[in-house]
């Protein structure tokens, strides 16, 4: 293909976009709306799975409260002994003085009323695999094996809930993402197909005048690409605005846990991912749509 032809085809694509006002707007509208929904869903699913994966980590700890009469040395021996158990990642000994100090800092009224430190020494056991936490906690409840341990506190049911949730989010969210991507592609393809359909007589005329399929296709592909990218930018704008509102709202709740989960996604990933998706969807959508009307005659 000659350079002058390429220039012409680019110009051609641009003229089509301008002169087919309604069809361009329709395609752009569909791409924007569909990508906004897709983007919002993917983002939500991604965040949900980040939350879901983060939540159980809050509960990956078993607290062992020791009997009051256990000496510090025995506590330390116990700590080292537990640290070598399979499945245990780390053990920290929280001496009763430190616990008391912490409590004094966080609840001064309460500690003043109590006057004397009622807290026992505590071992904080972190497990390697959150799924094993109950089995491990159960072992510590064995009084003969651990006579020094008075009370075993694990997150129990909460962990199982969170773990289940995380898997649900991962599997269902993953399938939903794939489904949404296909749905978006289909919606855009469908719209482009209608715009190509509206121009089928033109395409036919071009063929009769001697235009090669490539010559007809390229401007249409460029149009698809343009609409995909511009639609993606618009969708990003909408999404970032909405996201700002949502995070303001969530922050206004001042709820712990929510909002303090770090994210791998920075806001500037959104336009990047969406533009990539938009370009892909615009190109694939128009390629599929054109194919149908470029049968040789």
């Amino acid at each position: 293909m000659r350079l002058s032809s390429l220039g012409f085809l680019l110009h051609e694509a641009w003229l089509n976009i301008r002169r087919n006002g309604l069809m361009s707007l329709a395609t752009l509208g569909t791409v924007t709306v569909a990508l906004t929904v897709l983007g919002a869903s993917l983002w939500t699913i991604f965040r949900l799975s980040e939350y879901a994966q983060f939540q159980p980590r809050r509960f990956d700890r078993i607290d062992l409260f020791l009997l009051p009469d256990v000496s510090r040395e025995r506590a330390e021996t116990l700590r080292d002994q537990i640290a070598h158990l399979p499945g245990v990642a780390r053990v920290r000994l929280i001496p009763r003085e430190q616990a008391w100090a912490d409590l004094q800092a966080s609840e001064p009224l309460l500690t003043e009323a109590l006057e004397e430190n009622p807290l026992p020494d505590k071992l904080e056991v972190e497990v390697r695999d959150i799924a094993q936490i109950q089995a491990i906690a159960h072992n510590f409840r064995d009084q003969t094996a651990y006579p020094d341990v008075e009370r075993v506190v694990d997150a129990g049911e909460a962990v199982r809930v969170m773990l289940g949730l995380a898997r649900v989010v991962k599997v269902v969210g993953g399938s939903a993402s794939a489904g949404l991507f296909i749905a978006t592609l289909f919606l855009v393809y469908n719209t482009i197909r209608l715009t190509v359909f509206a121009r089928r007589r033109e395409i036919r005329t071009m063929q009769l005048v001697g235009a090669t399929p490539g010559f007809i296709r390229l401007p249409l592909l460029l149009e698809g690409l343009f609409h995909g990218v511009v639609g993606a930018l618009l969708a990003s704008g909408i999404l970032l605005l909405c996201a700002r509102e949502v995070s303001r709202f969530v922050a206004s709740l001042r709820s712990p846990l929510i909002g303090d989960v770090p994210s791998l996604l920075s806001p500037w990933h959104v336009p990047a991912v969406l533009v990539a998706l938009g370009a892909l969807i615009g190109l694939v959508g128009s390629y599929l749509a054109i194919r149908r009307f470029l049968r040789p005659i």
Binding site: R2, L15, T205, L208, V209, G210, F215, I297
Partner: protein, 236 residues
């Protein structure tokens, strides 16, 4: 240039648009195809630019066997034709200028050539003053002339015109046919399907007559009606 041998065209299963038509046109000839409405004139032309293919028989144009031409080669084949469609076939979103230029664009002509040729051919058909109008802003006759200009612009060796004067007044029609004649003199083979008896009679060129899909007459220097019938009164 053109050889049809026993060509039959069916639409659907039973509708026969052409039946056992054989025709040979040499390079440089000027041929009128006449016949009552629905006789198969357009179908015959469509065969020649391969919008339709023969159900039976062989169609050879400029050395190509159109029945067995790979679809990849069709665009290149068509670029060497000039075609005036009965329904004009203008691109509605392109201006007059762009419509005509398009026929050059597809062949990869340089912009410089295009800027030289297009105004010239618009001048020839009398539309030099409206290059920026869109087809829907033109009268029927003006649209028809754009279609003619597009067919002429790349100096095709073979020009196929389907009813090129249907929407033109007699003077303009004559001007167009003289244009075709002129082109023919310069070497282009011209085939015109028409109802315009004044023009056919006036030009005294080869006339091929179809009736109900059959070739019924082929006069080297014919008139719209067969000579035998010239004395016969018009039906009334």
């Amino acid at each position: 240039m053109i050889q049809l041998q026993n060509v039959t065209v069916n639409y659907g299963n039973e509708w026969i648009a052409l039946y056992q038509v054989s025709l040979c046109v040499n390079k440089g000839e000027f041929v009128f195809i006449v016949g009552p409405t629905g006789a198969g004139k357009s179908t015959l032309l469509k065969l020649l630019y391969r919008e339709e293919t023969a159900t039976q028989g062989t169609v050879r144009v400029a050395g190509h066997d159109l029945n067995h031409m790979p679809s990849r080669e069709v665009p290149l084949f068509r670029r060497r034709l000039g075609i005036v469609f009965q329904d004009f076939g203008l691109l509605p979103n392109k201006t007059v200028y762009e419509n005509v230029a398009f026929a050059l664009r597809v062949t990869g002509e340089s912009s410089r050539t295009i800027r030289r040729k297009v105004p010239h051919v618009l001048e020839m058909v009398g539309l030099a003053h409206r290059p920026d109008a869109f087809p829907h802003q033109l009268s029927g006759g003006e649209q028809q002339r754009v279609a003619i200009a597009r067919a002429l612009v790349n100096d095709p060796p073979l020009l196929l015109a389907d009813e090129p004067t249907g929407n033109l007044d007699p003077d303009t029609s004559l001007g167009i046919v003289q244009l075709l004649h002129h082109i023919n003199v310069r070497g282009t083979t011209v085939i015109v399907a028409t109802h315009d008896h004044t023009i056919v009679d006036r030009m005294q060129r080869r006339v091929v007559a179809l009736e109900r899909g059959r070739l019924v007459r082929d006069d080297q220097q014919g008139a719209y009606r067969p000579l035998l019938m010239l004395s016969e009164p018009m039906r009334s």
